[in-house]
Symmetry: C2
Subunit: 406 residues, 2 copies
């Protein structure tokens, strides 16, 4: 019998009616003869409410107790969904993280799954029950409750699909799939039927926030086919899997972008070994995440070192850099908060030359000035002035003919 893991996020189970809708969808799948394991998040708003309670007591709540607190959110949803299924005459049973025995390490609020028990779930499925599992939570060897951090419910779903060898892991969200780019920027953006794990990773990390990157990594690692689809509409969504041999792939799958970037440059850095770590060390110590890094070849024994950070951390990063700049004898620090990153992503570009130049040409023709470039095997990112974001995305969408399925 085909086995599917369904995952429904907070919005999809946001109130009683939506929980009933989820029950209906799951029940239909069961009636089609599918075995179904459902992973659910807390009802939308509940987690924030619990976080607010904790912060009313402690500025930095104890991580262990935070996990005890937050894990109640999903526990409420599993009980309600199991009731909604039983009300429809669909046998169901709910399990918390510790009941399934989703064993994790002890890194409270950001734990990693280490092992999952399957015997109980298999038994329930064999008895014809739908198994409803609380996402986002686990338990340590010692019996402490843990949570898996942002997007943890996706991770739970993928991990369950992996250990149960499910045919697919269906991630139900409020969008109907993965698009070639954000339809709010390019109305002609097209829903993709398929995309590879590698492409999805680049798309996700670059700002197309459909799936949590960790769950995509996980799915890729264990080769679990992921399908993103709408919990409100019918449709087959987008399948995320490995590239199939023999399938003609489009050069480019999509255009990702990130509005939330800021750029910092240390000018006139003495060109000595180890200079990059001297500059980035204090930034990392301040827990500021660095995205793109570019260092040009040296001229006159000095070089310019440029990187991008999240816009919210620009000021802090700037101050840290000014200190580092003095220590290193560099000339000065410059920065720009009004930049964005635009990337083309596609496994097809690996075997095709000329993609980069086609990209740069297209942007140049529209007068979009490129401020930084960074590339990987399956993506090319450029930093441009913020005002060019929409123009750049539409230009590239058109240049690579993404409106058409290939």
């Amino acid at each position: 019998m085909a086995l599917y893991v369904h995952k429904y996020g907070g919005t999809s189970v946001g109130d009683i009616d939506r929980i009933k809708n989820v029950a209906e969808r799951v029940h239909k799948a069961r009636d089609r003869g599918e075995d179904v394991v459902v992973v659910v998040s807390a009802m939308s708003g509940e987690t924030n409410k619990l976080v607010a309670l904790a912060h009313a007591i402690q500025e930095r709540p104890s991580p262990r107790e935070m996990d005890v607190l937050l894990s109640t959110g999903e526990q409420v949803t599993i009980a309600l969904l199991a009731m909604a299924l039983e009300e429809r005459g669909c046998p169901a049973v709910s399990y918390t993280g510790w009941q399934v025995r989703i064993l994790s390490d002890a890194s409270h609020t950001k734990a990693r799954i280490e092992d999952i028990g399957t015997a109980e779930i298999r038994k329930d499925l064999d008895e014809g029950k739908v198994v409803v599992v609380a996402g986002f939570q686990g338990v340590t060897e010692e019996g402490d409750i843990t949570t898996l951090g942002r997007g943890g419910s996706d991770t739970t779903a993928v991990a369950l699909a992996a250990v149960l060898k499910a045919d697919e892991c269906l991630i139900f969200t409020d969008v109907d799939g993965v698009y070639t780019t954000d339809p709010r920027v390019e109305p002609r953006a097209r829903k993709l039927d398929r995309i590879t794990f590698e492409e999805m990773l680049e798309m996700a990390s670059l700002g197309s926030k459909v799936l949590q990157i960790r769950s995509v990594e996980f799915a890729g690692k264990y080769n679990v086919p992921l399908r993103v689809l709408s919990s409100f509409e019918e449709g087959s969504g987008t399948l995320i899997s490995y590239e199939e041999a023999g399938v003609e792939k489009a050069l480019i799958s999509g255009i990702a972008f990130n509005r939330d970037e800021a750029k910092l440059t240390v000018q006139g850095v003495p060109d000595r070994p180890g200079i990059a770590s001297k500059i980035l060390g204090p930034i990392a110590e301040a827990n500021i995440e660095v995205d793109m890094i570019v260092q040009n070849v040296a001229e006159d024994q000095t070089t310019d070192f440029t990187f991008t950070v999240n816009r919210g951390e620009y000021k802090k990063a700037f101050e840290i850099l000014e200190n580092t700049c003095n220590d290193l004898g560099a000339k000065k620090v410059r920065g720009d908060e009004k930049i964005v990153k635009v990337s083309i992503v596609g496994v097809g570009m690996r075997s095709h030359a000329g993609i980069a130049s086609k990209m740069f040409d297209a942007l140049a023709k529209e007068g979009v000035n490129i401020r930084m470039i960074s590339t990987s095997e399956i993506k090319i990112s450029v930093v441009v002035d913020e005002k060019y974001l929409e123009l750049a995305v539409r230009t590239l969408h058109d240049a690579f003919d993404l409106e058409q399925a290939h």
Copy 2:
């Protein structure tokens, strides 16, 4: 080191400020050198909110899933209280029912505790931590979550005090102790410093709803001294324990009453063996609880059979009785919804004659007509017309001189 189990109900942990107050009180006890285990209920209103969610889905929610749902209420409180303690610099650790391993049977929504693990708690106490335990919940041998039914948190506290051999189990409530009678009826009611388990059982079951009867039974069985006291004011409350030899006891400890009664009489029942069970059988089958039962000696081969039920079940009981009446060839069914029960309670009456006649005399002098009488070793209950309730209570309070400590 002295060990105390504290229990705080829903009102005492009803909001963040109250949780902080509880933390302060517990912290002070810890600073006095006491070992403290704290049992808490769900924040007031939370359980009702969860019940409403369940009923919005299922008219009769699955008991197993109901327990998964309801147990989240206490889980929220334990995390918040542990945080509030840590915020004060008082080391603390929270445990759910399954984490302590409060093992129960599988009677969902009304489970009975079978065993409690203590090793972990002892270890934490030895390390100087306050242990915060979720009341009301347990776990079956198979790992299913259970709840203990009404007043379950009191039961958890008493059970923990028993297995940990605590010096006392302190039940913090919104009243400052057990009174000789309800101060709203008799303003001169006096707080008792001590009362015996047996008296408390009679007082509780007769309508002085300070403590859940099950937890008092449990405390008596395992000889756990219980202390009822206010979570909002200072004070030593009322200690509930076994009668101490050599302590001069008052004849009467208190006056209990129950407004919520109704009386039913089957007249002219043929006086045959087994008639009582023929009358009460169908009542029991309909899940109607019977309180007082009185059967007078037979006259002319027939007898009158009278009993009281909860007023809310009067109509249902009446209908059932009319059928039974026909089957048995009894004369007719009569009933009265406007009656109340007033009882005097005291272990002292065991060794003193004349208590009953003193009671009846006092009532007679005020013109209070007694409709039914029932006695046990440590209480005498009378049924009177509803309109006499306050007069009867005040008359008896005065007659037995309860205003004065003895």
